[in-house]
Symmetry: C2
Subunit: 466 residues, 2 copies
């Protein structure tokens, strides 16, 4: 990109254009730890739809690639810019434009932080349910662009189900409005769903109409269970499903992850839980569930019975404070890993019934590559996060070799290489393994229907054409 282009951006967007070294450096990376080999030429901090349109018009006229970026909390390298590219940062577009009580929807700009939206909704008795683990720091625009999941999806659905409509700036700078302010609507193809999870490759989300739910009116009830091994914990999760129970949350920590949490938190933090010193042996696994809604207490009792039937040592939290103490064990997982090195967080999904098989495969792959792969799973929906802990600036090749086996195994078990993080740059080399050549080619044709010049996030999702 020449200085002419920077000048043109400056004329159109003034101070919103940054060529500051620190700003450009930051835009090389995301929360995956992966960085591009060079900083982008400029970062534009768009504050309005018109700003986004101006960037896309200039980029389109000059054939300059644009990488759209929210809070940078992605885990697949999907929003990382490099030399010759503009990074389009939408975090300043952070207004909640409308909260519509009668229609249970909100209209937001893309830079609104997920938790901030819920803080704004609370006084209205409304709730936006998609809850990626990053919700305190990630943006709604990024959540939609990646099709983010979370802990509550098995019961409350994924991001796609919560997006009613979008306003998107296309590659040429024009505006596309999709969807409706209604739950139903089947006029033409469902571009709202197509754009959700499209990782900035089809257009730039500048506004979203979100479907809300009444805020929960009842205190949730938390249940925790320790198991002698991961197979019996997975069996506990299966028993919950067999009993036709659908707790809001059902999280599984396998022994490797649990051991790190125990040494990270120390015995005192675990006193009084099923993981108290002496209560759970080495190699123990941990399940934590939460029931909500009007029958939370009754459902929790049924969940506890199902967990016990699989051999779990079960504790039912007496109150919300005790529930929070149990949940804190789960929440400390990533802190415990980060304390011991760099972490590559993976994100496969398999049919729930295949979770025991996937855990066996993870153990086998860890052995074969002489690695530890501490893992947490959203057991209610079969989404596992196997984590690789390593040292140094770069992900070692043997970690990628192990990840390669992991992805292929998940697909072979009827699952997918990414449940909720996206393909980005880091997983694009496995896209064809999952989709097949013909579907990959069809998906490229869809990309071309939106972005014929290929300027939108060209490094993400698809391998470069040789």
């Amino acid at each position: 990109m020449g200085s002419d282009l920077i000048d043109e951006l400056r004329r159109a967007l003034g101070d919103a254009v940054s060529t500051d070294d620190g700003v450009r450096e930051a835009a090389r990376g995301d929360a995956s730890g992966w960085r591009t080999d060079s900083p982008p030429d400029a970062v534009v901090h768009a504050a309005s739809v018109a700003d986004v349109q101006a960037v896309l018009r200039i980029a389109s006229a000059s054939g300059t690639p644009v990488v759209t970026r929210g809070a940078g909390t992605g885990l697949a390298g999907g929003a990382n810019g490099c030399r010759g590219q503009i990074v389009l940062d939408t975090t300043r577009m952070d207004r909640v434009l409308e909260i519509d009580q009668a229609n249970e929807l909100a209209v937001v700009e893309p830079g609104v932080i997920n938790d901030d939206l819920n803080r704004a909704l609370a006084p209205h008795g409304l709730w936006y349910s998609p809850d990626p683990a990053s919700k305190a720091i990630s943006t709604i625009g990024g959540n939609i662009a990646t099709g983010a999941g979370g802990l509550l999806c098995a019961k409350y659905g994924v991001t796609r189900e919560a997006v009613l409509g979008l306003v998107v700036v296309l590659a040429d700078g024009s505006l596309l409005r999709t969807g409706h302010r209604t739950v139903k609507g089947v006029t033409g193809y469902d571009l709202t769903a197509l754009l959700t999870g499209s990782e900035g490759t089809l257009g730039v989300i500048v506004e979203a109409t979100l479907r809300l739910r009444p805020a929960p009116r009842h205190e949730p009830v938390t249940i925790a269970a320790a198991y002698p091994d991961v197979e019996s914990a997975a069996e506990g999760a299966a028993a919950v499903v067999r009993a036709h129970l659908r707790p809001a949350m059902l999280e599984l920590l396998e022994p490797g992850g649990l051991a790190r949490i125990r040494s990270f938190l120390g015995d005192a933090a675990l006193a009084g839980t099923p993981l108290a010193a002496g209560a759970a042996p080495d190699g123990a696994a941990f399940l934590i569930a939460q029931s909500d809604g009007p029958e939370a207490a009754a459902e929790a009792a049924e969940v506890a019975a199902a967990l016990a039937s699989a051999g779990g040592s079960v504790a039912l939290a007496a109150d919300a404070a005790e529930g929070e103490r149990l949940l804190a064990i789960r929440r400390s997982f990533h802190g415990a890993l980060a304390a011991s090195g760099e972490v590559l967080i993976e994100d496969v999904s398999v049919p729930r019934s295949q979770m025991p098989a996937m855990f066996r495969e993870i153990a086998r792959i860890a052995d074969a590559h002489d690695l530890e792969i501490p893992t947490v799973a959203h057991a209610g929906d079969g989404n596992l996060h196997p984590n690789f802990v390593y040292s140094g600036d770069e992900v070692p090749e043997r970690v990628w070799a192990a990840a390669d086996e992991l992805f292929r195994t998940a697909v072979a078990l009827g699952g997918t290489l990414t449940g909720e993080h996206g393909v980005g740059v880091l997983k694009r080399r496995w896209l064809r393994d999952e989709l097949g050549d013909a579907q990959e080619a069809l998906q490229r044709r869809i990309k071309a229907a939106f972005d014929p010049a290929g300027i939108l996030n060209p490094a993400a999702m698809f391998e470069p054409v040789a």
Copy 2:
């Protein structure tokens, strides 16, 4: 289409190919009452994926249009064949291939009847929730192709949310597998969602993986309310939403529809209901709600209170039998209309808060065109079915003129010209009014990415290119 092509179809598909006059005649129409101007050249009754592939290969090689058809219960003329076309009937592909309890999913062929699937699921304690009014006679393949809605969608979601994956035969006869056996999965663009509601224009659905729910374990509770006019009934529905209640069902009958039901059923059938002779004046409107789930009784009491707060004369059914009697009033709506003439059933959606405005507009349009437009609404999600009753074989021009105003009004109120029936042939001339020229062009490019020769249901959704 020449006799050569029929011969080729016969060589590949034998007796599955019908050129019988009666069979071809039946394939001209659907439940909308609209018929094409000529029968298709052949109807192929596919019994297998291989049959569908054979048809598409032959059609593709010869450039012959193919119209895929399920039970023919569509209301938009989207599965009606004409001269020069093959109608591909998938109703013989009617096997439930798998019921997977552990993963709460079913794999079905497209010709399975919606109610038959639920009959097969019941012994497993599972339930497929999308419930188009035609569920006793319509196929899952057709439900997916139209993105069918139903009465329970506000609480349980539309068809798109219940489809996890598809197997589709593309125009060239190749197979495309989309989605996963998991709730989560964000590898590449969401083609499962894109194909849902695509009305046979992108591919032919030959298998679907469906997301199931635990079957309801509690008796639902039915609530009915009569109001002096439609505005206060709409206000009753709004009061339910304001109270953050989400009954499974919330149906509204406006005075014109209600009057026809009263004369159709007679006073005896309404005795003991809020519509009993003398209890509700002329011009009265009717709301019927149903609460389900573990707190059905408590929720129903809250719903009843909300309905009463808006001036409704409310009856809470004492038991399931009484609930069924109240529901029968709603269910007799289409029978009552059909008894008085031909019926064109329309299907607009508006934001729930705009229902009173939409009812006012329907009354105005009816007056202006000297028509009656008896209407029922799924009030929980703002989906209205205004019905035109007419006589004769053809929909009169003034009915289409009134429908034109209806569609434009719904779009202007923030809604859509079709909530759950699809665009088909009958509404394609309004597609551009809703989507705009640029989006319509983009949608045509997506169609071309799947079906470059344009042989799949070419008359549906888009206007012919001049």
